[in-house]
């Protein structure tokens, strides 16, 4: 027997007594409903809007429900008293999509009414099913509706959209005007907390981004659920008047977004023949072809149409997040409050009272002041520095200023100095994310606009290209406190990486070429860098570094996946291509972030481990092969020419003499301009045998010293710095073939002596030259510092470890020392080496928090250290450093 031929109720169920007549048979209702459904679909496909379609589908359901219900009352010879039907959820809101469930509530006046209604309800539900409606029903007595079901927040939320369908209207009135308003008022905190929880869980499930390549238009962030959650939040919060009214323009945007997404959802249901809301690649193309939701009938390519989708999704998502932020339903913990207080920190006096921190978020205080972009940029710099996000309200205020020209903008151009500060901070993503939402990022870096909401169909990436790029940056800043073990190894790399700004700029630009017609996206990205570097006025060295990272951004992952990373030849070849340790560190972080941001599963612990192993092996390769690879000046023709031009000298012979025999690393870590400056110092050596250059950098000072090699030179310089209270962070010591030593020390001025007393700079240089020349003794300088520096107890205890390695270098013995950092440490080590007759060929000094990590290439009388000498050295140093 076919469904259509069956009567509207199941004869197997015993009918109630006193039945009167028969219900309208399914053979009549079924074809009628099908025909109506068909008509609605045809009209939708002919261009009728989603709103009308949803309304028509809703009316169809309403009509059938009312007819079947009335029929059954008649057949069962019942009055409707004590029973009524309510539409809930989307159906209650009259937003019924073609294959959506009908959420229906059977409301009973009493338990007895419930008992009596059971046969009728089961027939009713079955008939609706047979007519092709998917019924999702619940039953409650009026009394039950007064209670809060703590494990069923979804039901209470659906009740907010209740609508009378059929039956006892008096019963509905009672529920609608008496029972629910009272219980809803009481349940408000519960509903709010649950709605927050459910929404956060849903957003997290979808990676907290709207930018999915195949979005779910119902559940994904920016989908219809976002809109619905916003409406519920407004309903629940309505009486509290805490929310600034939504502007008319925002209402219009939101309505347009709902229409657009509704059209897609109808289209998806019709195309899939079921309640499937995934906007797949195939359906994106089909929707773009018919200009779905746009209404102009002009076919577009899928990428262009998806940009429209993301624009609408962004509207709905932004609105939801703003409401979610209005009131935190859970009181802040003490830890969070303390954290917020710490984050509040200082507001620079020159920022006046333009912004402040409240509840852990940056808020705009003086909105008109933000027409001066310098103020806006300082707010973003603060966000990047402290990791304090902007509140949605702050973002909205800035958005208003940016789009309303009543207040003419000032200082619109963001100089590289500010952008560099934001990109180089600990939390660049915290600033870049709202800058992108507000369109500021593309104003500063128009190249980034080429990948705005760009879908690239490769079945591997899950997010749009711009989202992927921003995620790379967020994954790196997460390393401050990594959420899982995959990042553990990379934490120290992120904390100590140099020129973080260039790394972040590379990440912003690395995939920009995907939005360009270039065949290879890297070529496109490099072209984008050209224009960005010109506009931002990057120095040639800065540009070259970003260029390298973009050009090679796939190399490290290719090496990890396609080469045997345990083969020394692979490591050596990779080391040669990256040239320096510093650059490799940036490339490693870039690779980590790039893989991590493809999709949540792309960076498996296995891949993270392989990447780390390649980093470690290459890093060790760098520090163990340093003096093997010496510079031969004659091979460096182009460098010689560049230095010659910069140093304004006639010939290159003198430059050749200067460069001959330096370790190749010298070239890798210094630019041509720096080498020219070193050469200028070298030329003055004959007049003054100790040449120094002191430069103040952002966080430290950099001292370059040139002198003919002499015993204990390195230790002496380290001693003078310690005597002046300077803490050495990093140092390089190189010697050329003629025995000229070039030492570079980066040190922190712990007591701000040089910063606060500029006149001391000259005295410091003189003191240094005098001690190095032997004109002044070192001991008095050191004595004055000794007691103060030794008195401090270190916060973290680092065990001293000394390793010797005779195999890595052909000429020297490598000594690696890991020990507790303290002022004067390098002097202690250097003095011990000098006392034992060890010559430092190369030194690499580094610090990581409280830990000093020093590598020395040592010789004694021109040869490697003997085993006895190594033992002696170990003993002496262990005794000195404990």
């Amino acid at each position: 027997m076919t469904t259509a031929a069956r009567p509207g109720f199941d004869p197997a169920i015993p009918a109630a007594k006193n039945m009167q007549g028969s219900p309208t048979p399914l053979s009549v209702l079924g074809p009628r409903a099908d025909a109506e459904r068909q008509r609605i679909r045809q009209q939708f496909e002919a261009g009728t809007g989603a709103r009308e379609t949803l309304r028509a589908l809703c009316e169809l359901a309403d009509h059938n429900i009312q007819q079947i219900f009335d029929d059954l009352l008649r057949v069962h010879n019942r009055e409707p008293q004590g029973l009524c039907l309510l539409a809930l959820g989307g159906y209650g809101r009259r937003m019924l999509f073609p294959y959506s469930d009908l959420d229906i509530l059977f409301l009973f006046g009493s338990e007895r009414a419930e008992q009596e209604s059971r046969p009728l309800i089961s027939e009713f539900s079955r008939t609706l099913w047979d007519l092709g409606f998917r019924v999702s029903s619940a039953g409650r007595t009026l009394e039950e509706c007064k209670r809060i079901e703590e494990d069923n927040a979804e039901f209470h939320l659906a009740l907010l959209d209740r609508r009378f369908l059929a039956g006892d209207s008096g019963l509905f009135e009672k529920l609608d005007t008496k029972v629910l308003p009272a219980s809803e008022k009481q349940a408000r905190p519960f509903l709010l907390a649950q709605l927050h929880r459910l929404t956060r869980e849903r957003l997290t499930r979808y990676g907290n981004t709207i930018f999915h390549l195949e979005a779910n238009v119902k559940e994904s962030p920016g989908g219809m659920r976002d809109y619905q959650a916003t409406v519920w939040l407004r309903q629940i919060l309505d009486e509290k008047k805490e929310i600034r009214k939504v502007t008319l323009a925002e209402e219009e945007l939101s309505a347009a977004a709902v229409d657009f997404l509704s059209a897609i959802r109808c289209f998806l249901h019709y195309s899939n023949g079921r309640n499937d809301n995934t906007l797949t690649y195939e359906l994106q193309a089909a929707a773009a072809e018919r200009a779905l939701g746009v209404g102009d009938g002009i076919s577009r390519n899928a990428a262009e149409w998806m940009r429209l989708y993301f624009r609408h999704a962004r509207t709905l998502n932004r609105q939801l997040l703003r409401y979610l932020e209005q009131k935190s339903p859970v009181p802040l913990t003490l830890r969070q409050r303390l954290l917020n207080a710490a984050r509040a920190s200082r507001v620079e006096p020159d920022h006046g009272n333009y912004f402040m921190v409240r509840d852990g978020l940056l808020e705009v205080v003086d909105q008109p002041a933000f027409s001066d972009r310098a103020v806006t940029y300082s707010l973003f710099a603060e966000a990047a520095r402290t990791g304090t996000p902007l509140s949605r309200e702050a973002e909205r205020s800035i958005g208003y200023i940016l789009t309303h020209p009543e207040l003419p903008p000032r200082n619109t151009e963001m100089p590289w100095s500010i952008l560099h500060e934001i990109l180089g901070s600990d939390y660049p993503g915290v600033a870049l994310r709202p800058m992108q939402r507000l369109g500021l990022l593309t104003q500063i870096l128009p190249e980034f606009g080429m990948i705005d909401s760009l879908v690239v169909r490769d079945f591997y990436h899950r997010y749009t290209v711009d989202e992927h790029s921003l995620r790379t940056i967020e994954h790196l800043q997460e390393l401050a406190d990594p959420p899982d073990t995959r990042g553990t190894h990379f934490v120290p790399l992120w904390k100590t990486v140099e020129r973080r700004d260039l790394l972040i700029l590379s990440l912003l630009l690395h995939d920009v070429g995907k939005g360009m017609p270039a065949e290879n996206h890297i070529t496109g990205s490099l072209a984008a860098l050209d224009s960005a570097a010109r506009r931002l006025k990057l120095s040639p060295e800065e540009k070259a570094e970003v260029q390298f990272l973009i050009e090679h951004h796939l190399d490290m992952s290719a090496t990890v996946q396609r080469r045997d990373i345990f083969d020394p030849a692979t490591v050596s070849a990779f080391a040669q291509s990256v040239v320096t340790q510093e650059r490799m560190q940036r490339l490693c972080l870039l690779t980590y972030a790039d893989i991590h941001s493809v999709n949540p599963e792309a960076l498996t612990p296995w891949k993270a481990e392989m990447l780390w192993q390649l980093f470690v092996a290459t890093s060790n390769h760098f520090s163990r092969t340093l003096d093997r690879d010496r510079l031969h000046a004659l091979d460096e023709v182009s460098l010689l020419e560049r230095v010659k031009a910069l140093a304004s000298v006639a010939g290159t012979e003198e430059i050749e003499r200067f460069l001959e025999g330096f370790p190749r690393r010298y070239l890798a870590v210094h630019s041509a301009a720096e080498i020219a400056a070193h050469f200028a110092l070298y030329q003055k050596l004959s007049a003054d045998p100790v040449q120094t250059e002191l430069i103040a950098t952002r966080h430290a000072f950099s001292l370059t010293l040139l002198a003919a090699d002499r015993p204990a030179l390195f230790a002496t310089i380290a001693g003078v710095l310690a005597g002046w209270g300077m803490n050495i962070i990093k140092a390089d010591a190189f010697a050329n073939a003629a025995g000229v030593v070039l030492d570079t020390f980066h040190f922190a001025d712990l007591h701000r002596t040089l910063e606060l007393n500029p006149s001391e700079i000259e005295r410091f240089r003189k003191s240094l030259a005098d001690v190095v020349m032997g004109k002044a003794p070192l001991e008095p300088l050191l004595k004055s510092r000794e007691s103060a520096s030794r008195a401090r107890t270190p916060k973290v205890a680092v065990e001293t470890r000394i390793n010797f390695d005779d195999t890595s270098s052909a000429h020297s013995t490598l000594m690696e020392i890991i020990t507790q950092d303290h002022p004067g440490l390098l002097y202690e080590i250097g003095s011990a080496l000098a006392r034992l007759g060890c010559n430092i060929e190369v030194a690499l000094i580094d610090t990581e928090g409280q830990k000093a990590i020093d590598v020395f290439y040592l010789t004694a009388q021109g040869k490697k250290l003997t085993a006895q000498k190594q033992e002696l050295l170990r003993e002496v140093l262990q005794g000195t450093l404990v």
């Binding site: 396609r562 345990f566 296995w606 481990e609 392989m610 780390w612 192993q613 890991i818 990590i853």
Partner: protein, 112 residues
């Protein structure tokens, strides 16, 4: 039907996959695994910390093939995965009693 499990060097994976594709084998399960065989692991020291690498990264391929294809597949894997060094991996063969395609309940070699 036989099941082939091959544990190979990650760096040989692409070549093995391409070689198998050439003889018409495209369906396989690939797992990232760590192996611990006779190939000795080693310890790397980075900034004073030791990192033990005694479980070396490997790729495991699994495929179930009709008997007629097994020998060719094994030869292909051998050729493509071999570097001649310790740590090239291993191939395991086992008999498969039955294969069933869940979608339409097809059985035997038809289900492969």
């Amino acid at each position: 039907m036989m099941k082939i499990e091959a544990v190979i060097q990650p760096s040989r994976f692409e070549s093995v996959k391409d070689a198998l594709r050439e003889i018409g084998i495209e369906g396989m399960t690939v797992t990232e695994v760590r192996g611990h065989g006779r190939q000795k692991g080693h310890t790397e020291v980075y900034r004073g910390r030791e990192y033990t690498v005694d479980l070396l990264p490997k790729i495991k391929l699994e495929m179930v093939l009709p008997d007629a294809l097994v020998n060719r597949a094994v030869d292909t894997i051998l050729k493509a995965a071999k570097t001649g060094k310790i740590g090239d991996g291993k191939i395991f063969l086992s008999k498969v009693e039955e294969a069933i395609r869940i979608r339409n309940e097809e059985r035997g070699e038809n289900a492969l």
